[in-house]
Symmetry: C2
Subunit: 377 residues, 2 copies
Amino acid sequence: MAVTLADVAARAGVSAATVSRVLSGNYPVAGATRSRVLRAVEELEYVVNGPASALAAATSDLVGVLVNDIADPFFGIMASAVQSEMEPEKAGGKLAVVCNTGGSPERELTYLTLLQRQRAAAVVLTGSAVEDEKHTAALAARLRRLSEAGTRIVLCGRPPLPEDAVSGRGDALRSGTAGRDADGTGAEDESTAPITVAFDNRGGARRLTEHLLALGHRRIGYVAGPVERTTTRHRLEGHRTALADHDPALLADAERLTVHGAYDRSSGYDGALELLRRAPDLTAVLAANDTVALGVCAALRDQGLRIPEDVSVAGFDDLPFSADAAPALTTVRIPLHEAGARAGRLALGRESAPPGGVATVRTELMARASTAPPRAD
Amino acid sequence: MAVTLADVAARAGVSAATVSRVLSGNYPVAGATRSRVLRAVEELEYVVNGPASALAAATSDLVGVLVNDIADPFFGIMASAVQSEMEPEKAGGKLAVVCNTGGSPERELTYLTLLQRQRAAAVVLTGSAVEDEKHTAALAARLRRLSEAGTRIVLCGRPPLPEDAVSGRGDALRSGTAGRDADGTGAEDESTAPITVAFDNRGGARRLTEHLLALGHRRIGYVAGPVERTTTRHRLEGHRTALADHDPALLADAERLTVHGAYDRSSGYDGALELLRRAPDLTAVLAANDTVALGVCAALRDQGLRIPEDVSVAGFDDLPFSADAAPALTTVRIPLHEAGARAGRLALGRESAPPGGVATVRTELMARASTAPPRAD
DNA sequence: CCTGGGATAGAAAGCGCTTTCTAAAGCGAG
DNA sequence: CTCGCTTTAGAAAGCGCTTTCTATCCCAGG
């Protein structure tokens, strides 16, 4: 049906092997031959058959990107950044496969299997992990399988897998892709352990809470994320560390002033109402993220409270809309684009793994108009 | 290296052909045999080799989704919706390849070639088209090529290709995929022309402008999008139609009250300042989309103008943050999710093409707090 | 009891590429 | 001028699956 390598070879008067070598470029071909081949490719408008070459080479040009929901800018920005590192000029022909897991661990496993089926060159996992031993073990097993098949694994914005869950980086390693460098002198030390780009959620939450404490707040509500997520726990830990450091007495009330919900607007709305019910006198509310903060703001306003005069509100993530909210939202900036880009480079092997396999990206407090000193009442 | 079909076949005591048939399910296999095979698959943890089956079957499980920028919720929502139609349960094993074109027609062509290389099952193109004959022709040619190779094409949120650019749906059609139904009695009428899910941008813009006119506005500025985009032109047309219908005299000033920019916040900011310079007495500003509207609002506020008391502002698209802006943004809702989902179903062949190949989705005016009657000055 | 036809399963020929392994030149040195 | 090395190119063997084309097997009908 379509033009094949053989057609190009015939036209250029060379063998198929030569055409393949010209196109892949990892074998010397004389200049004259090369240009003859390239001309034939042009003339015939030849398009490589990806599946065929993936079959023969045992690896494809696909890079999987697992996200909770691509429609959420938090993930959209990371995915976009990962993708930006795979532009045709930077990484010839790599394609990003975006998989919406909806935060479900099962779905995550399903997609990883699908990506393994496609012999993906790499997989970037975003979205916080679920703290469940069974899921963690299943995930680690699946990732090991992928890894053994030559797929590079990068975790972005989620903590590294627990040591004991990973283990057993087996023997099957060198049989697969490591064809070149056959004399064995080269340092075949390419670790297959997943690389992690982690966010400093604890530090960010701590600084945010310190900011509120410094403003004079003492009764601070917290609309947290799903209770089983690592991200939720880390942010909560940072928050409570700051409270404890400031005044251990504050910690006593922290439990009561915390509600859990999803990472969406309505959780923020409902959570704020619940907090108000529990503690009508609170002067500040922290939200699991910016989207939740929007919901919190809406609820507070619906209750006739002004922001920040009556209640201060802060978010997390610093998504693009946060600076434009009215009042502009105090939040913690996560360099999502930088993190995603780095994950992309790591996935493509264009950047070497950080020492220990974990790179933590800094978070930054963005103090804006939604937080102010509490009224002196 | 990995477990192959042959291994499964050996374990189940059948031939590879039988295993293949069990897994693809498009050929009768006796119940007992089938379950024996399935058990072997389980036991060996067999994962199909995607490239190999794509090679043999001449089509892959990949569906390309071209977007301007996946980090932009406008595209994120559509991509997410397309993806939601390909969940493992709905469409076994289909995977979405998201390609950021950055709005560049060249990049668009590059990605289409890459997708052709992967023998993508379908491609969904979003993002407005560029009005340039050369690009249109090149795009049409590329799409025809893809189409001939058996890839289904769906345009989502962009107008259909001009008739003359498409043309020549050649002879190469039936040679490819149309294997089954060989007796020729079946109606082999599956048109390969691209299917379109278009937005009613004209109508939306017209209704939005009518809304402002009804409120009493007469000096309405317009911060439009990139001048070469079809979407920009359509929205502008709708706007001017409304003006002309209301009072032809208004049309005279429309040119002066229009500035063009990109679809981003800073274009809105700059555009608003420029409009204010040209016409300090304007009472309303329409923006190319919601993001631009945010920039417009920021600029107006920085100039000491209140919204909507001094100047009304309206956007377009109704992205999630619009309702939460302060004041809540009047805008035109585009059912992005519905459109994307429909595009996804069309791409997967789970919904038949609309008559004429074009489905237009309705847009809806969302009148909110950012627009109000002008002050009586 | 024999036969034609439907239901199942196997054999084998690719799909189009990559990559050894091998062979033919091309070159400087002895 | 010839030998042995390097450089360049071809032959051919797969990679793992799909899908004809065939070969059984079994049953109802004659």
